[in-house]
Each structure stands twice: as C-alpha cells, then as structure tokens.
C-alpha cells in the first residue's frame, strides 16, 4: 500500500496540515505555480501566432487535456478505470443542443455541468458503493445506453435525428474557452490533491480496507470525485457543441472519445496531475497522422497503440520523465537490470520462450569454444613454426 507514500516523503507533514485545514505553500510548489502560470500564458498566446490547421490541432490538444485531466481526477487516485467520458461529453453537447432556443448559452454551459453531475450522482451511488469492477462495467456501456435513450427520445418527440446548434464563434474563442476550462480542471485538481478529500482518495487507491479502518467514508469520497470529474467532461462537451454545429447521437456518444481519453492519460501517466498533458500532445499529433495516412484502419491502430502503452510503458511518460529528472535513471544500473531480467526469462524453465534462446546461447557458447580452440591451435602452430624457424 505504500507506493504513493514512498514517492512522496513529505506526506506526513502534508497530512498534518491537511487535517488542520491549513494551506501551506512550499518553495517547490511556488516554483511549480510560476511554471504553470507561464505555460498558461504561453498557451493563451497560441491563437495570436498560429491560425488555420495549427489552431485546429491546438483546440484538439486543449480539449483532450481538459478531458484527460478531469478523467485522471477520479481514475488516477482510485485506480477505477472510467470508460464513460463519452457519455458525459455527449450529455453536455445535448444540453446545449436541446436548450439553445430556450436559454442563453452561458446558462446552458452551467446547465451541462449540472446535468453531468446529476447523472454521475446516480451512476456513482449505484455502483461505487459495491466494487470497482461493477463500476467499470457500468461505465463501459453508459455512452451506448444514453445514446439509445436519446435516439428514442428524439423519435418520441418527433424531432429529426440530429439537432442544430448555431452560435457564431471564432476558432480563437473556442480555444480560449477550452483553455480556461483546462485551467479550472488543473486548479481543482491541485486543490483536491491538497485537501482531506484528496488524501482520503490516495489511501483508498492504495488499500481500500485500510481507508475504511481509518474511518473514511470511501463510497462518498469516490462519488464526490466522480461527480467533479464527470461535470468537467460535460462542460467540455457543451463548449465544443457549437463548433460541431450539428449534434446527433451516433457522433455525440462515439465510444472513441472515452477510449482516446483513457489512452492519452495512460500514455502520460496517472500518478501526477500534469501526466495527461504529456500524453495528449504526442497522441493528438500521432492520431492526426494515423487518420490522414490510414483513414480506414483507425480503430485497429488505436487498439494497437493502446496495447503498446499498457504493456510497454505501464507507468506512462511521467514515470520516465520523473526518473530522469530525479537522476534516478542510472543507465548502467538499468542495463544490468535489463540483463538480469533477460537472464531470468531465459533461464526460467517455465517460459517456453526461453528454450530457443537458451539453445541458441548454448550453440553460441559451443561454437565460441570451438572457435577459441581453432584460434588457440592456429596460434600454437604459428608460434611453433616461428620457434622452429628461429631455432
């Protein structure tokens, strides 16, 4: 259970402060704050410099940063993989699309958050009290469920299969709106990390039984966090709805959104708040490349990328970056470690894979012995010849 505790030695001090409800800002945190504000300002200037295609990419990056980071708020500390981002994203879109003729747009954005929070409350209360697996299963089909209900509602109400959202906004405005949302997600995430709630969640993620024995109401803590995380996804949906212009169930609740969010967050790493950011930027670019080069194989390639991340970099890019920054990446140690691991695989009698390698190694060893013998023999002959000539 001590994984997180080990990574962060000043935890005990944190704990005491959090329990007392104090906000103590350390020097490192002040430094991080300055860096974050600088990045935010730099990001805000992007539309003034770039336009067209580059700005579109930037909008994708900012949107997925908001989605993946809000996903992480819940799934990071609890280790419960939420596959439901698309459902909340779509709910946000539909709130805007359905109410655009009735209410002003800013109210609808707020309303989208409320709708998302309401659905998250129902889902959370039903599933998070029981066990993690049930939550994952429930979240898996949630987007499909809401899609079916929306299609049915539109059928009953006699509207068309889609809805138009006509608000005139420029790409720059979309970008700034999403950037503000992202900043809000980060602020909330930072606040949660410092609060009693965040501390409780870290304990739950490490060992739920321990958390229960500490007197934490685990179900309520998880539900609150799920609500926060989902409300952000809904707001993101509300913000991009007018950009899409036409909202229909198949597009709004596409399972790809959930999948991409999870894959980006995993690529970045789930242990740090800024992890998804590291994953989003390369993945959006990669995804752009894939959809241009292999438009008909996107699903397949997405799945392959996902598996590669799960198997090859289970700790995400943050794990690699942090090791490097902390000077923990001792390359010699890593090499010897890799060699040790390879040796253990090869020598493991259970792994069939080892057998051919072991045989090949034996072969090489035998060959080299033979080769060595030949070399030694020829050397000996040469020396003998040399000696006999000089004698």
């Amino acid at each position: 259970m001590t994984d997180n505790l080990k990574q962060r030695p000043p935890m005990l001090a944190d704990m005491a402060q959090a329990v007392r409800g104090q906000l103590v800002v350390t020097a490192a945190e002040r430094r991080n704050l300055v860096i974050s504000v600088a990045i935010f300002i730099a990001a805000a200037l992007v539309p003034l410099i770039f336009g067209g295609y580059a700005l579109q990419l930037a909008i994708s990056i900012v949107m997925y940063t908001a989605l993946a980071t809000s996903w992480l708020l819940f799934s990071g500390p609890t280790n419960y993989i939420a596959l439901s981002t698309a459902a909340f994203f779509g709910i946000g879109m539909y709130t805007v699309a359905g109410g655009i003729d009735l209410l002003p747009y800013p109210v609808l954005i707020f309303g989208a958050g409320v709708m998302g929070a309401a659905m998250a409350t129902v889902v959370g209360l039903a599933t998070l009290r029981v066990s993690g697996v049930y939550f994952v299963i429930f979240s898996l089909g949630l987007a499909e469920l809401v899609r079916q209900i929306m299609t049915w509602l539109q059928h009953v109400l006699g509207t068309m299969s889609g809805l138009y959202v006509t608000i005139d906004r420029s790409e720059t405005e979309y970008y700034w709106q999403l950037l503000l949302l992202t900043a809000a997600v980060f602020l909330v995430g930072w606040w949660i990390g410092r609060s009693r709630l965040g501390f409780a969640l870290r304990i739950i993620g490490n060992d739920e039984l321990v958390a229960v024995h500490c007197g934490i109401n685990t179900a309520i803590a998880k539900v609150i966090l799920f609500i926060i995380s989902s409300a952000f996804a809904s707001v993101a949906g509300a913000l991009v709805a007018p950009r899409w212009g036409y909202v229909e169930p198949v597009v709004a609740f596409s399972p790809f959104v959930s999948f991409q969010v999870v894959i980006m967050a995993l690529l970045g790493g789930t242990q740090r708040l800024w992890g998804p950011l590291l994953g989003v930027v390369p993945f959006v670019l990669l995804w752009e490349l894939i959809s241009i080069e292999f438009p008909s194989q996107t699903t397949l390639l997405l799945g392959v990328c996902f598996l590669l991340i799960v198997y090859v970099i289970p700790n995400g890019l943050t794990g690699i970056v942090e090791d490097a920054m902390a000077g923990r990446t001792d390359f010699r140690a890593q090499l010897s470690d890799a060699a040790k691991r390879a040796r253990s695989v090869v020598n493991d009698p259970q792994a069939n894979l080892g057998k051919p390698i072991r045989e090949a190694l034996d072969q090489i060893r035998a060959n080299s012995a033979e080769l060595g013998g030949t070399v030694r023999d020829s050397l000996r002959t040469a020396i003998e010849r040399w000696n006999s000539r000089n004698a």
């Binding site: 029981v130 898996l140 089909g141 469920l145 999870v262 699903t299 799945g303 598996l307």
Partner: protein, 288 residues
C-alpha cells in the same frame, strides 16, 4: 404470451453467450471486455459460411467453435498470461486485464471492419413461421434455442461429470487451494478462457440466425453478458442460466411494449436493481 415465448427463446440463446463469459470471469478470473467482439466474430463467420455454402448455419459451428477456441487460447497465452505473472495482487491484475482486453476489443473491431466492412450483415435462414400456443414465431429462433439448449446441457454435464470439469470448478472456487491439490491452475485457467471464448462464439453463431449485426455492436453484447453473469452470481452456472431468461424476458418486454431500440436500457435497469438489492447476484454467496 408472445413476450414470454420470445423472451424464453432469446434468453436460451443468451445463456450460451453468458456461459462463455462466466467461464472467463468466474474460472480464469479475467474480466474480458473483448467478449462481445468474439461473439460478433462468430456471427460474421457464420454469415460468411452461409453466404458461401448455403448449408445450414449449424454446420458453421464446426468451424466457429474450434477456431474461437484456438484464437482465445492464443490471446490468453500472448496477452493475458504475462499480466497474470507480473500482477502483484488480484486488484492489479483486474485493472491490467480490463485495460488489455479493452484494447483487444478495439483491435478486434478494427480487424472485423477490415474484413467484413462496416455494414449491417444478416441472412435469411429458416425464416418460416411455426405455431406455438396459436401464435406464430420464426422457426430460426426455435432452432437456435434448441441448439443452444443442447450445447448448454453438454457444457453443464462436462463441468459436473468429468475430471477436467471438476478441475475447472475447483479453480473457480479457489485458485490457490486448487493448486495445492495438484491442479495446474495456469493450464486450467487458459483452458477455461479458451473454452469460454469458443462458447461465446457459438452463441454469436446461433444469434446470427435471427439478429442483425454490425462490427461495432460487440460492446452491447459484452454488456449483456456481464449483466447476466452478475445477476446470476459470479461462478454459478445455474444462476447464469436463470439470469439469461430474466434478461430475455426483460428485453422482449421493453422491445414490444416501448421501443425495440431500448434493449440495452432493459439490461441496465436489471443491473441497477441487482446492484442496489443484491450485489452478489441471485445465486452468489455473500462475502463474509
């Protein structure tokens, strides 16, 4: 009345698909989110077989079942087994296997799209009416139900009357204790996973006789199978069969009375009820 009969026929066919997942989750302890894609693969292969040969789709089972068995065995050995070995705890394995099978499900959809395209596929086989209690039903539904019943019964007998079946049930109850009585747990788990995949694919094969499929529908069937397994209780075959009929009735009722597009909602309502009332399932044991 017709709701009852159609629900019974549908539930009987669902039982086969859910038993496949039950073997994978109950025995091998792998939450397989790619289960529905295996089912779709079975359905598509049957479609392809029927379109090519015009022979009864039941013969396609001879192709689908061994094919799915080998495929799932390979998936277990290549993707799942490394996770089982690297996992430090059951919880970690659960997270890893969920992620891995989620990725595999997308790969499977991609492959199915590449081979069969994105259209809805169906075929017309035995589309003639039979009369039960004076009302007409499709003969294909009845045939699929009977075939499913035969396969389910066979599986049940195999699990309860043979040594291999006994080993499977032992692993399902307690993997570490099963290891103590010299059951090869790794092999048995792989067998259960492969067999589960074969059974699910057979279910897809039978369902394709009267349902229409497209490549992206897998997740719906994964979810239905999961709901059935949880409703019946993890690790309990009887529960799975009973729960399949319950889902069959619920879906048919929703489809006839409200809207055929809302079948997943029926499954979700059942799921909610189970979670709120009896999270361990109908036949499951309450954890101590």
């Amino acid at each position: 009345m017709s709701i009852l009969v159609i629900g019974l026929l549908l539930g009987g066919t669902y039982a086969l698909m859910a038993m496949g997942l039950q073997l994978q989750y109950g025995v091998a302890r792998i939450m397989n989110l790619a289960n529905g894609e295996i089912l779709i693969a079975g359905a598509f292969t049957t479609f392809w077989f029927y379109a090519g040969t015009k022979a009864s789709p039941l013969f396609a089972l001879l192709l689908v079942v061994p094919g799915a068995f080998i495929l799932n065995w390979a998936i277990y050995r290549m993707f799942i087994f490394p996770l089982v070995r690297r996992a430090k705890s059951q919880g970690k394995l659960e997270v890893d296997s969920i992620l891995a099978t989620f990725g595999i499900s997308f790969i499977a959809v991609g492959i199915l799209l590449a081979i069969f395209g994105g259209e809805y596929l169906d075929y017309s086989y035995l589309a003639q009416p039979v009369f039960i209690f004076g009302e007409r039903y499709g003969l294909n539904r009845v045939v699929a139900f009977l075939a499913s019943a035969v396969l389910c019964a066979g599986l049940y007998l195999w699990l309860h009357k043979t040594r291999a079946g006994l080993a499977l049930r032992a692993v399902s109850v307690n993997p570490s204790a099963a290891g103590l009585v010299s059951i090869n747990v790794a092999r048995t788990s792989a067998l259960a996973f492969a067999l589960g995949g074969a059974v699910t694919a057979a279910g897809g094969s039978l369902l394709s006789m009267f349902l229409t499929f497209d490549a992206s529908l897998g997740v719906v069937f994964t979810l239905k199978a999961l709901v059935i397994v949880i409703l019946g209780g993890v690790g309990d075959i009887r529960g799975t069969i009973v729960a399949s009929f319950i889902l069959g009735f619920a879906e048919t009722a929703v489809a006839t009375l409200i809207d055929p597009g809302l079948t997943l909602a029926a499954a979700y309502v059942l799921f909610m009820i189970v979670l709120l009332v009896r999270p361990e399932g109908l036949f499951g044991r309450r954890p101590a």
